[in-house]
């Protein structure tokens, strides 16, 4: 039995429990269908757990996380995720184009992209988004509280 499968089983049980509690708040007529789905999920999860308990008795618990996360670049991954989240936070404040510029420069520098490539990426991407979304689709991209 693999450790990752234990996580899957736990995740689905927690999910079923959360939805089970939430279903209780619905009017009685609206409860049947979601309850059936939650029941199905819990049943399938139990089958899955049972299948793996049988394996646990013969093979024991295997730590497969090193294999799943082999070559995982912790600093790079969390750095990129933080920059992405920063971009989403900055978007309503500074507006789309300013936030994009800040995000692209910081992210490309963080990922060690040469300066010429950095400049080209910003120009191409800004041009593409302006032509497609602003000119063609006429999407009002956020202007930001600071500039509106």
């Amino acid at each position: 039995m693999k450790q990752s499968d234990v996580c899957v089983v736990l995740f689905f049980y927690v999910l079923c429990l959360v939805f089970y509690v939430l279903i209780g708040d619905l009017p009685e007529e609206a409860q049947t269908y979601p309850m059936t789905i939650v029941g199905c999920l819990a049943l399938l999860n139990t089958f899955f757990a049972f299948q793996h308990v049988k394996r646990f008795l013969t093979e024991g618990l295997l730590d497969d996380f090193p294999a799943i996360f082999s070559g995982f670049q912790t600093k790079q991954f969390f750095g990129a995720v933080l920059l992405c989240l920063g971009f989403v936070v900055l978007l309503p404040l500074a507006g789309f184009y300013v936030a994009s510029l800040v995000f692209l420069v910081s992210c490309l520098l963080f990922l060690h992209v040469p300066k010429l490539h950095l400049l080209l990426t910003i120009l191409v991407l800004a041009g593409l988004i302006y032509v497609v979304f602003t000119l063609f689709l006429k999407v009002p991209l956020p202007m930001g509280i600071l500039f509106s």
Partner: protein, 511 residues
């Protein structure tokens, strides 16, 4: 019959509109670029381009998505041939002989064969699209609420069963999608379910946001976790692009055979281009008069694989458009595009919206010509684009994901939903869950729910209505087949491997 021919002719007239031609050319180029970048999939490309199609005429929008789909499937062969790295899993078999040809200084020859075989594979698959879609749509006309319930269940069982290593994990992924589809207003009672007082969730989880998150945003996270490596330089080829008549004659039977294989694989939900390419390659090897060339640079091997993976494209659209059952993740995203345009897959596409459907079919035919022209003349350029670093792709794809999900309703809350689905897609990738099944559950959930609840309402809550017609029983049978199909697929795969080892061992023994 006459009506169909007239509709097909009108479809061609509409598809030949300059705007449509420009759209298919651009989409094919974008698709090839995505395809030749290792790590990016056709589904990711189609999901990323979904929001761009909102403002377009439905037929043009679908042509754009199909252009990206076909382009990406072919594009994967460029990096497979030139740098021995398949751009998409669909080109894995092409890399075997394609790269060997490159090492022999015949890169242009290999690219020409891949391009011509892809063209014919895709073009011939349109024949079945034109012939079988209306027939299947006629059958779907007989479907009522109980049949729609079973149909949605069938779609879910087959994709969940076939495309996962563990059938139970596949089914759990599908049911997770069904559970997420319950978020929003109850269709019968009109009460909000699991919306946490967010008005954006009243109409349910936006399918486009979910698609962009599951297929594109998750790709950003997958790329960000891996060490960024410099891609190898593609071989600078100097031989001429083109095929002699003799070579064409040699390749023709393999292309036709692979077309049939690819088409059948495409129509079968759950199996996809990555399976078809190996089947096409194996059959080309089995029937070839030059078996000794396979693995050492055979043009027949390249043709067999490429014709098969492109023949999947037309075939996989048949169940998607007529029954609303996408065969693989790309067609699931394409179906999402159809729903976004306010169209429901099914018989209506061949009656009320027949004009739009046949324009799309004609566009699909013309896309193959675009792919041939762009592929033959632009291979050198695409090979260079294929070297684009992941460090540039990570922020670029992310920005496009954010703009795409924001553009749907000009709402930042949907960007957050997209991010959450991105995280779900990444976790699904890590823990071997099936993203295609989650999407399918999300799409088929409301159809199944309406089918089930309407049926029960009509029969005073008595479930016997779900077993009342022969069509219901046929669909129940298909559901059982869907659950058993992983066993059949495994057996087929094992047999194919055995055939391969015996044919490989025979020449060695003779030597």
């Amino acid at each position: 019959m006459t009506d169909t021919i007239l509709l097909a002719a009108a479809g061609f007239l509409h598809a030949l509109h300059p705007l449509n031609l420009l759209a298919m050319l651009m989409a094919t180029i974008v698709g090839i670029v995505i395809g030749c970048l290792p790590g990016l999939s056709a589904a990711m490309g189609v999901a990323l381009l979904l929001p761009i199609t909102f403002g377009m005429d439905p037929a043009t929008g679908l042509i754009v998505l199909a252009g990206v789909y076909c382009g990406a499937i072919f594009g994967g062969s460029i990096s497979a041939i030139l740098v021995h790295t398949p751009g998409t899993p669909a080109s894995a078999a092409t890399a075997i002989d394609g790269y060997e040809l490159t090492l022999q200084g015949k890169a242009a020859k290999a690219l020409t064969v891949a391009c011509v075989a892809s063209f014919f594979g895709g073009l011939l698959s349109c024949i079945s699209l034109y012939c079988f879609s209306p027939l299947l749509a006629q059958l779907a006309m007989k479907f009522k609420s109980p049949e729609y319930f079973w149909l949605s269940l069938f779609g879910l069982t087959i994709i969940a069963g076939v495309s996962s290593k563990s059938m139970l994990k596949g089914l759990m992924s599908g049911v997770l999608g069904l559970l997420l589809s319950t978020v929003g207003m109850d269709p019968m009672e009109g009460v909000p379910r699991f919306t946490f007082d967010f008005s954006i969730l009243d109409s349910g989880i936006n399918t486009t946001c979910a698609l962009i998150g599951l297929f594109s945003m998750s790709q950003v996270l997958i790329l960000a976790e891996k060490a960024i490596v410099k891609r190898s330089r593609p071989v600078d080829f100097k031989d001429k692009i083109g095929l002699s008549r003799k070579e064409m004659k040699r390749l023709s039977p393999h292309i036709v055979r692979s077309w049939i294989i690819g088409n059948i694989v495409g129509i079968l939900p759950g199996a996809g281009a990555s399976i078809a390419c190996f089947m096409g390659y194996n059959e080309a090897k089995r029937f070839s008069k030059h078996k000794e060339e396979f693995g050492k640079g055979s043009i027949e091997g390249v043709a067999g694989s490429e014709a098969a993976n492109n023949a999947v494209t037309g075939g996989s659209l048949i169940p998607t458009l007529t029954l609303g059952i996408p065969g693989e993740s790309v067609t699931a995203v394409l179906m999402g595009g159809l729903i976004i345009q306010g169209l429901q897959p099914g018989p209506e596409l061949f009656t009320t919206y027949a004009g739009m459907t046949y324009t799309f079919f004609a566009g699909f035919v013309l896309i193959q010509f675009c792919m041939l022209a762009v592929g033959l003349f632009g291979a050198r350029g695409f090979a260079q684009i294929g070297r684009l670093s992941d460090a540039i792709l990570i922020p670029s794809i992310f920005i496009l994901c954010v703009v795409g999900s924001y553009a749907i309703h000009n709402n930042l809350e949907e960007v957050v939903i997209m991010l959450l689905f991105g995280l779900l897609g990444w976790l699904a990738h890590k823990f071997d869950l099936n993203t295609a099944a989650i999407v399918l559950g999300l799409i088929l959930g409301p159809i199944g729910e309406k089918g089930l609840r309407r049926s029960l309402l009509l029969n005073d809550g008595d479930p016997s209505i779900l077993f009342s017609t022969p069509l219901c029983w046929m669909l129940i049978g298909l559901c059982i087949f869907g659950l058993l199909s992983p066993l059949l697929m495994n057996r087929m795969e094992r047999r194919m491997r055995e055939v391969n080892t015996t044919t490989d061992e025979a020449p060695a023994k003779n030597a």
